[in-house]
């Protein structure tokens, strides 16, 4: 199953409760919320969606698995569209 990982060409900086990310192919900077930044962070190493959900469940032990799965689904699509996550061939 192909995995997803952070685009290594991305530059970012944590700032208060946001993460500022420079999009890889433009000069545009987006502000990720702590939730989307956590989802993005889960792909620091190459992972499948299921592995990312598992990692986030371990990280946020008080979170419900169903909620985490839903957030991963929502944010992965957006992050991929922005070019911040890339699929392995």
């Amino acid at each position: 199953m192909p995995g997803l990982r952070r685009n290594p060409a991305t530059h970012w900086c944590d700032l208060f409760d946001r993460t500022l990310v420079l999009l890889p192919t433009t000069d545009e900077v987006v502000h990720l919320t702590s939730t989307s930044a956590a989802v993005w962070g889960a792909f620091q190493q190459e992972r499948t969606l299921q592995q990312a959900v598992d990692a986030l469940c371990d990280q946020y032990a008080d979170g419900e698995r169903a909620t985490i799965e839903r957030e991963v689904e929502i944010f992965v699509g957006e992050l991929e569209e922005l070019g911040l996550l890339i699929r392995s061939p």
């Binding site: 290594p8 991305t10 530059h11 970012w12 900086c13 944590d14 700032l15 208060f16 946001r18 500022l20 990310v21 420079l22 000069d27 900077v29 502000h31």
Partner: protein, 379 residues
């Protein structure tokens, strides 16, 4: 003494409090309550002008600078804007060094991006407005060509290609987005730059990472000396950011500065007066606890020659001509001296655009400067 040039007492108090954040000793007396709305625009302009938005935001977070909720939002917004600029500049630095490496050229990252990663607990605390890269003299021309091949153009015509390569400090380039990259051959222009030993800059280096990319910078002593040169030399308003850089480096308990090595290298570069001037200014402004370095700086007495050289960097009425006269003395060999003097008097076509209306005007300005320099010497 470096002159203090804040626009008002409130802006001064807040800006110095922000710059002081993270340094040893007791916190300064910050404002008792939120800054008055009438003073707020000047405060934020001053903080941004001194490139201290990161430390300002941290000082606000820590409660050193009380703010209203609207002011807090402002702090986030303007600091986020600066951080966005820094991210773009970091990408510029990564791309430029990668292209230079592909051409077989080593480059060291100076100041902003390197200081942010190597000298501060978090990159967001140190913002910057351009990229500075150092290359070896032997790689100078090839480096300019590589950068031009990826879209950089010179911000100003060169005084002379050979002059720039042999005696110059560097060149300013801009990319398609208007962002600036200063390509350096050494750390200062004029006589002080000619005193800097190139082999010292490259003998030892420090590595740091910008995300997945490994880059190199000067060693800790080199970074400290560069911060001193940046802080002490300039005709414009005093900048707090380089003073904060050097104060942080000189007082870092986790990696103490090797004072003997720093002063030894400054001495061999004939730059002790520069270091003393910068250290005295930083200790005075930030009210830092006494130290071996501060004691040395406050008791250091520059020679008349050192004072004259320093004045050519700080006196608004002195400039290229006085630099040239004092530089020629440091250039070795009669042929080299002649080459230096010739190009200083007859720069390449276009160099004077925006500086002097004509070549005779350049010479008149030079004569005025030299008369001033001679008067200073006589007195």
């Amino acid at each position: 003494m470096i002159t203090d040039s804040f626009a008002g007492p409130v802006a001064r108090q807040v800006t110095v409090t922000a710059a002081r954040f993270g340094l040893p000793g007791s916190p300064p007396d910050g404002p008792a309550g939120p800054v008055d709305d009438a003073d707020w625009p000047l405060v934020t302009q001053t903080v941004q002008r001194h490139r201290l938005t990161g430390l300002f935001a941290a000082a606000v977070e820590a409660g050193w600078i009380p703010t209203t909720s609207r002011q807090r939002r402002d702090v986030y917004e303007f600091h986020a804007g600066m951080v966005a600029t820094c991210l773009r500049l970091e990408r510029d630095a990564v791309r430029a060094t990668a292209e230079l490496r592909l051409a077989g050229i080593d480059a060291l990252v100076l100041k902003g991006p390197a200081f942010a990663r190597l000298e501060y607990p978090h990159q967001r605390l140190r913002v910057f407005g351009d990229v500075d890269l150092l290359v070896r003299t032997v790689d100078w021309q090839a480096s300019v060509s590589v950068l031009e091949s990826i879209g950089y153009v010179r911000a100003q015509p060169t005084v002379g290609t050979a002059f720039e390569r042999r005696f110059g400090k560097g060149a300013t380039l801009r990319n398609h987005a208007g962002r600036q990259l200063d390509l350096h051959r050494t750390l200062a222009a004029g006589p002080l730059g000619l005193g800097i030993e190139e082999r010292d800059l490259w003998a030892e280096t420090s590595s740091f990472r910008i995300n997945a990319h490994e880059l190199r910078s000067l060693d800790p002593t080199g970074r400290f000396l560069h911060a001193c040169y940046h802080a002490a030399l300039g005709k414009h308003r005093m900048q707090l950011s380089p003073l904060r850089d050097l104060a942080g480096m000189a007082t870092n308990p986790e990696r103490p500065l090797n004072v003997a090595e720093a002063l030894g290298r400054a001495s061999s570069w004939q730059g002790e007066a520069v270091v003393a001037r910068a250290v005295v200014a930083a200790w005075h402004l930030f009210d830092l606890p006494t130290s071996e370095l501060a004691d040395w700086a406050s008791s250091y007495r520059p020679s008349a020659s050192d004072e004259r050289i320093l004045r050519t960097y700080t006196d608004p009425e002195l400039g290229f001509a006085s630099h040239a006269v004092l530089s020629v003395r440091r250039v070795p060999g009669v042929r080299n001296k002649a080459a230096y003097a010739f190009r200083a008097a007859f720069p390449e076509h276009g160099f004077d655009a925006g500086r002097h209306s004509s070549r005779p005007r350049r010479w008149i300005t030079a004569l005025r400067e030299l008369r001033r320099l001679a008067r200073d010497r006589a007195s």
